[in-house]
Amino acid sequence: MRMSHSALALVRGALTGHTGWPRTWDSPLPRDRYKVIVVGAGGHGLATAYYLGRNHGITDVAVLEKGWLGGGNTGRNTTIIRSNYLQDASSAIYEKSRALYEGLSQELNYNVMFSPRGVMMLAQTEHEVRGYLRTARANYLQGVETRFITPEEVQKRVPIIRLDGPRYPVLGALWQPRAGTARHDAVAWGYARACSAMGMHILENCEVTGVRSDAGRVSGVETTRGAIGCERLAIVVAGHSGRLAQMAGFRLPVESVTLQALVSEPVKPCMDVVVMANTVHGYLSQSDKGEMVIGGGADGFNNFTQRGSWHHIEETVRALVETFPMLSRLKMLRQWGGVVDMTGDRSPILSPTPLGGCYINCGWGTGGFKAIPGSGWAMAEMVANEAPGPLAAPFGLERFREGRFIDESVAAGVAH
């Protein structure tokens, strides 16, 4: 039974001690076979399943998750949502995604707490000023609303910032007013709830250990809960993509590294926008609970442990303290890491694979939370039609062989 979430339901819940809420998604036994199996119940996998049902009427779908739903990078990220990328292909999918976030709470009847509070990317060198002016103009042509703002406007919007360096003075910023944050877990839970309501199966503690094929086409998977057949397979496992690709018999241009983040003790509201400082590799926002949420650059070497190098945290905080002196007085509460999947051009992969009926969605690296709705939309389209649509087409695996990169190493200069 799925209860509709409303103000009335909340009041009823409050009066009955919040004991009457049904499970958000069901926990069924695996069937022998599904039309589509999605591997990985992170945001991208769940959104893929959701749009398969919503846009293409395919509901004979199972989402297999080796751990718990949303326990990968989706539950570990710093939730920045923006679409001010440089290349047209990126802007198309990231802006589609940002636009879907605007209406996602209503669409899912689940509060994902999308907060379009504005994202500011500081320009702290002359080079960065030129870069962001270029991005602002590219965004203008792409129909993405951004503009370059002066140091005075930066100060007005962010009183806690110190403009005058000394090492890296703030020379201006790229400002996207409708960018912001959302509640990461709620995005995964909201999609899961909607998938479950359509009759899809979400199978947790179900690790895929092998991929079965028949005459060059996928026929199913082996899992820790037994073999399950399928007609089509969508691999959406972020840092573990290499392993799944190996099971399916191909290699990827992806390496997995750890990206870390940390939060401070909660303080009173002091900053109501997201600020990113790419030159010094740090970014900052304040959560609804009042914690300062801090992230930085990814670690330098391959790593599957979800534990990062201490000195990266130190470098991030050291750099941010220069621009935000008040941070030096805060105690840090928690620090964690996630295994992110990095490609050479810092753009994702949405692609058919050498195995027929098998599609992969990975390479979102340090910045895929913002892309969950758009990526799910594009992936569902590809799986349903067995061919990439306009959003996914530029992100095919063949772009590496062809030297047709979608270079976002500048737009994604810092992890977010």
Partner: protein, 113 residues
């Protein structure tokens, strides 16, 4: 924090003294290489969850490149060796079993991961 020993100058130090340089033992694709071999050399990586052979540079020491075998699942450095080695050394290809009890007895003896 990783601990690495530079095989060139013999210094053992924390990872902040070194710079990681990606996968080792890639065979450079020369002129006339077919596209798929070039793609494999340039982009595709094994990215193992297990023993990874990789390049490091003793950036804040002797400045030289060397190679290391490190487990990406446990962060143990299994050994370092000369950059002039063309094949992954067989004795470093598998991680020895982890003896947690020994770790607890002598925490300083092993590189803290």
């Amino acid at each position: 924090m990783l601990m690495l020993t530079c095989p060139c100058c013999g210094v053992s130090a924390e990872e902040t003294e070194f710079a990681p340089g990606g996968a080792a033992h890639l065979r450079r694709a020369g002129p006339g290489t077919p596209d798929d071999a070039f793609e494999a050399y340039m982009f595709q990586r094994d990215n193992p969850r297990g023993v990874h052979f990789e390049r490091w540079r003793h950036a804040y020491g002797c400045g030289k490149w060397f190679l290391a075998a490190r487990c990406t699942r446990t962060l143990r450095v299994l050994g370092t060796y000369s950059a002039r080695t063309t094949e992954p050394p067989a004795d470093l290809a598998a991680e020895p079993p982890v003896d947690l009890a020994a770790d607890l007895r002598a925490p300083a003896a092993e590189a803290p991961a």
